[in-house]
C-alpha cells in the first residue's frame, strides 16, 4: 500500500472514530496502535510504552498543570465578580461603559486564567444579567460574553500556546508575547462592534441613576490588584529569562492559590480540594491527549505519512497565501468539531514543516491557529462557550445566542486578515523584548 493510500486510510478512520464519541486521548491511542500493528506487526508494540512515557517526560509540560492551577485558584474564588465590579465602578458613566467593562473584564480575566470556559462563566455570571437588566438586547448580551471568553486562549498565559510551543518546539515565552497585541486588537474589534450594534438598534446605554463614590471606586481595587501583580510578575520572570515557564508558573500557581485562600477566606478543606480537583481533572485530560498525540505522531512519521503529505503539498507549488487560506479553512472546519488541544497536538507537527517551508513565521502562525481555535469555541455545532452562556442565561434560546456570536466570528476573521497583512502586530512585541531569533525554545 502506498503512503498516500495509507494516509487517506488513517485520515478517514481518525475522523470516523473521533466522531463516534470515543474520548479523544483513547481514540488517538487506539488508532495509532491499530495502524502500527497492521502495517509493522507485533514488533512495533515494543516502542508504545516508551513513546507514551517519553511523550510526557518533559519538564516544560509541567507548566500546563501549573497554569491550569493558577486559573483554577482564581476561577474558584469570587475574583471574577470583583474584577467585573471594579471595572464597572470605574467605567459605568462612559457611553457604552458596560460593554467596555464586560469585554475588558473578559480580557483581564483571560490574562489571569488562560481558560476560555472559565472566563466566559466568571464574567458572564455578572455581565449577562447586568446587561439585560439595563436593556441590552439578549443576543448582544450573550454573544459578546461568548466572544469575550475566547480571549482566554489568546491573551497570555494560554494553555493553547504552551501546547503549540511544545508540539512545534517554538519558544513559549515568544508565543505568549505574540498573543498580547492581537488579543488587545481583537478585544477592540469586539468592543467596537458591540457599541456599533447597540447604537444602530437605537439603544442608548444609560448609566444607572446612582453614582459610585470615589471611596467605592478605590475600595474595588485591593482585592484584584494582587492577582494582577502575580500575573505580571510571572510574565516578567518568563520574558526576562530569569526562570523557565514551569518554574514561573509553579510559583505563580502557589501564590495564586495562597492569595485566593487568604483574600477570600477559603479556609475549608473543601475549597482547597476544589482547586486541586479542578486542576487535576483538566491537566490529566490534556496530558493524556498529549501522550496519545505523541504516539499518533510517531505512527504518522514511522509510516512516512507526515513526510508524504508535506511533499505532496510542496509539489503542488501553491501560492503561499492560497496555502495559508487552505490551512485556515482546514483548521476552522476541525475547530467546529474537535477540541483545540486535540487539533493543535494532532495537526501542528504535520503543518509545521509546510508552514516553515512556505516562509511563514511559526510564532505568527501560532497566533493565527489560536484565533482559528477561538472561532470553534463560539461556532456551532460544538461551540463550548455557547453552552456555558446558555447555562448562565437559560431563558435565552440557544439559537439566539448562536446568532449573537456570528458577528464576533466575523471580527475574528477580520483579525486573521489584518494579521496576514500586518504580521508585525504579532511579531513586533516578542522581537522587541526577546530579540529577533525564531524557533528556539
Amino acid at each position: 500500500m502506498s503512503p498516500t493510500t495509507q494516509g487517506l486510510l488513517v485520515l478517514v478512520v481518525t475522523i470516523l472514530l473521533l466522531f463516534s464519541g470515543v474520548p479523544v486521548a483513547f481514540g488517538l491511542g487506539a488508532i495509532s496502535i491499530a495502524f502500527l500493528l497492521f502495517f509493522q506487526g507485533l514488533d512495533a508494540m515494543r516502542v508504545v510504552a516508551e513513546t507514551f512515557f517519553s511523550g510526557l517526560n518533559d519538564f516544560t509540560l509541567v507548566s500546563i498543570p501549573m497554569f491550569v492551577m493558577m486559573g483554577a485558584a482564581i476561577g474558584s474564588s469570587p475574583a471574577g465578580k470583583d474584577l467585573y465590579e471594579a471595572l464597572d465602578r470605574w467605567l459605568y458613566r462612559l457611553p457604552g461603559g458596560l460593554v467596555i467593562s464586560n469585554l475588558g473584564a473578559c480580557a483581564i480575566f483571560a490574562a489571569l486564567t488562560g481558560s476560555s470556559p472559565a472566563c466566559c462563566a466568571a464574567i458572564g455570571r455578572m455581565g449577562i444579567p447586568e446587561m439585560r437588566r439595563r436593556g441590552y438586547p439578549d443576543d448582544v448580551a450573550t454573544g459578546s460574553i461568548c466572544a469575550g471568553g475566547t480571549l482566554g486562549i489568546l491573551i497570555p498565559p494560554s494553555v493553547t500556546f504552551i501546547l503549540y510551543g511544545i508540539a512545534t518546539e517554538t519558544s513559549i515565552g515568544r508565543l505568549f508575547l505574540a498573543g498580547v497585541m492581537p488579543g488587545l486588537m481583537l478585544t477592540g474589534f469586539f468592543i467596537l462592534w458591540t457599541l456599533f450594534i447597540i447604537w444602530k438598534r437605537g439603544f442608548r446605554s444609560h448609566a444607572p441613576d446612582f453614582r459610585y463614590t470615589w471611596k467605592q471606586k478605590f475600595m474595588s481595587i485591593p482585592k484584584i490588584a494582587p492577582f494582577i501583580a502575580i500575573i505580571i510578575g510571572v510574565m516578567w520572570v518568563l520574558y526576562g529569562g530569569v526562570a523557565t515557564p514551569s518554574e514561573a508558573a509553579g510559583v505563580g500557581a502557589a501564590l495564586c492559590a495562597l492569595l485566593a485562600i487568604v483574600i477570600y477566606r477559603m479556609w475549608t478543606a473543601g475549597s482547597w480540594w476544589m482547586i486541586l480537583r479542578d486542576t487535576m481533572r483538566e491537566s490529566v485530560m490534556i496530558l493524556m491527549i498529549i501522550a496519545a498525540a505523541v504516539l499518533f505522531g510517531y505512527m504518522l512519521t514511522s509510516l512516512y505519512l507526515t513526510q508524504t503529505l508535506a511533499q505532496a503539498i510542496a509539489d503542488m507549488h501553491l501560492n503561499k497565501w492560497a496555502l495559508m487560506a487552505m490551512i485556515n479553512v482546514f483548521l476552522l472546519v476541525c475547530g467546529f468539531f474537535i477540541p483545540p488541544a486535540a487539533i493543535i497536538l494532532m495537526t501542528s507537527p504535520i503543518l509545521m514543516p509546510i508552514i516553515t517551508a512556505a516562509g511563514f513565521d511559526p510564532v505568527w502562525f501560532g497566533v493565527i491557529l489560536t484565533i482559528n481555535m477561538e472561532v470553534g469555541l463560539i461556532h456551532p455545532p460544538v461551540g463550548l462557550n455557547i453552552y456555558i452562556v446558555n447555562s448562565i442565561a437559560p431563558d435565552v434560546p440557544v439559537t439566539k445566542v448562536m446568532w449573537g456570536t456570528i458577528p464576533y466570528v466575523l471580527c475574528m476573521f477580520l483579525a486573521i486578515i489584518v494579521l496576514c497583512i500586518f504580521p508585525e502586530i504579532a511579531t513586533w512585541l516578542p522581537d522587541k523584548l526577546m530579540g529577533a531569533a525564531h524557533g528556539v525554545r
Binding site: S20, V48, N57, E247, V251, A254, M280, P381
Partner: protein
C-alpha cells in the same frame, strides 16, 4: 454487580485524590527548587525529576477518576443527535474500543516496567533516579482504567447509567 461497580468507583475516587496530591507535591517542590536555585544559589539535583515524574504519575493514576466524571474530552455531536437505540450501541462500541486500548497499554507498560525493574534502569539525569518507580504509575493507572471501563460497560449494559452520560434533557435533536 452493584458491589463491583461501587468498589471500582471508590478506587477511582481514591486514585483521584492521590493524583491531586501528586500535583500539589509538584507545586511545593517547584517552589522549593526556585528558592534553592534563585535565592540560595544552590545547584538543584532531584527536584526536576521529582516534579516531572509526579506529573506523569498524576496523569496515569488520575485518569480513572477523570473517566469516572466523564472528563476525558470527546466529540459528542453524533451521540447527542442519535436516537436511544443506536446511541446505546455506539456507546458500547466506544467503551469496548477504549477498553481494548487500555488493555494493550496495560500489557505493554507492564512489560516495560518489568524490564526497567529487572535491568535496574536509571534516568539519564544527575540524580540517576530508579526508573521503575515512576514507570510503575503507567501499569497501575492503565490497569485501573480497564477496571473503570469494565464498570462503565456493565453500568451502560444494565441500564444503570445512560450511554455517553446523555440524559433525555441533554439531547439536542
Amino acid at each position: 454487580m452493584d458491589t463491583f461497580i461501587r468498589g471500582v468507583r471508590w478506587i477511582s475516587r481514591v486514585t483521584g485524590v492521590v493524583a491531586a496530591l501528586l500535583i500539589a507535591l509538584a507545586v511545593i517542590v517547584i517552589c522549593e527548587m526556585v528558592f534553592e536555585r534563585y535565592v540560595l544559589n544552590h545547584t538543584t539535583i532531584w527536584q526536576i525529576d521529582v516534579v516531572t515524574y509526579s506529573i506523569i504519575a498524576a496523569t496515569f493514576v488520575g485518569s480513572p477518576y477523570v473517566l469516572l466524571h466523564r472528563g476525558h474530552v470527546n466529540v459528542d455531536i453524533l451521540p447527542l443527535h442519535l436516537s436511544p437505540r443506536p446511541r446505546y450501541w455506539l456507546a458500547m462500541f466506544t467503551i469496548v474500543l477504549s477498553m481494548a486500548f487500555c488493555v494493550v497499554l496495560f500489557i505493554v507498560t507492564s512489560l516495560y516496567w518489568h524490564e526497567a525493574y529487572t535491568s535496574n534502569w536509571k534516568s539519564d539525569t544527575v540524580w540517576r533516579a530508579r526508573l521503575w518507580i515512576p514507570l510503575a504509575a503507567m501499569p497501575i493507572g492503565t490497569g485501573l482504567l480497564v477496571l473503570q471501563y469494565l464498570a462503565e460497560l456493565l453500568s451502560v449494559a444494565t441500564g444503570r447509567a445512560p450511554p455517553f452520560g446523555i440524559t433525555a434533557e441533554r439531547r439536542l435533536a
